[in-house]
């Protein structure tokens, strides 16, 4: 599924890197511990997190995740957004809490093998 379809289906708001919404999503990961994400997230995942500080962008770049999705309507910090624009990493925001969002992602076929 493409990021764009997911955005519409799950009512996500895009904060940056709109041009990358054509990317294909190949899986998902949810965690707020950066070491866990670094060790276990995969290329092409949507990464669901509550963290909004600038280091999520470096983690996303290094792991080549397709997008960062912030939950509970949390907004990226100013320097997070700046860095994400520089690196062209899509950040999307969901109003849902992580559990519900991940449930919906899974229902949409993300992460089902």
């Amino acid at each position: 599924m493409k990021l764009k379809e997911l955005k519409e289906k799950l009512n996500l708001s895009v904060r940056c890197a709109e041009d990358k919404l054509i990317q294909e999503i190949t899986g998902g990961y949810v965690s707020d511990l950066l070491s866990d994400v670094i060790a276990n997230a995969q290329k092409g995942d949507v990464w669901v997190t509550m963290q909004v500080h600038v280091n999520i962008v470096a983690v996303a770049v290094l792991k080549e995740v397709a997008a960062i999705v912030l939950v509970q309507g949390r907004e990226p910090n100013e320097d997070t957004l700046k860095k994400a624009k520089e690196e062209n990493i899509p950040i999307l925001v969901s109003k849902l809490p992580a559990f519900q969002l991940v449930g919906k992602l899974y229902e949409s076929g993300i992460g089902k093998t």
């Binding site: 707020d32 950066l34 070491s35 670094i38 280091n55 983690v59 792991k63």
Partner: protein, 153 residues
């Protein structure tokens, strides 16, 4: 890039600079991609480098990260000027961390850093002097594993 001889490059890491944190690990990853190193090796080097870099950003003043690539192996040395590690054995324990509450709230300090390096490297050596600094050196062998061609997934 031809790999007849060994190749080496150094990157500077600045303590407490969270904006640029992760840059050195990303550069290391780019180099390995350019050379055409297999993606499983790249994944392991990237995880270990990131953890080593974040330790510098969180605890030390500054450090150099040097990568040496030869036909046989990839060696990374992170040499920092910082507080040093009081008890290396304890620091290696999964879940042990001296991170502040603030760092933990940012999703760091899970006590996974050094264990993540150990898990992904073939050899790991840590030398530390309290009040002076820490030198973390790890090696990932290329000889057999480089032939695998497994995918990053």
């Amino acid at each position: 890039m031809r790999m007849d001889k060994s190749y080496s490059q150094s990157f500077e890491i600045t303590g407490n600079n969270f904006f640029d944190a992760g840059k050195a690990a990303t550069e290391v990853k780019m180099i390995l991609k350019q050379i055409g190193i297999n993606s499983d090796i790249i994944r392991r080097v990237a995880i270990a480098s990131y953890e080593a870099e974040m330790n510098v950003v969180m605890y030390a003043k500054r450090a150099s990260m040097t990568i040496e690539i030869s036909q046989e192996k990839i060696k990374i040395v992170v040499d920092d000027e910082g507080p040093g590690i009081q008890n290396i054995e304890l620091a290696m324990k999964e879940g042990y961390s001296t991170a502040t509450t603030e760092m933990r709230e940012m999703g760091f300090g899970a006590g996974m850093g050094l264990p993540n390096i150990k898990r992904n490297a073939d050899h790991l050596k840590i030398e530390s002097e309290v009040g002076k600094g820490t030198k973390v050196e790890f090696v990932i062998e290329l000889k057999e594993s480089a032939r695998g061609g497994s995918k990053e997934r």
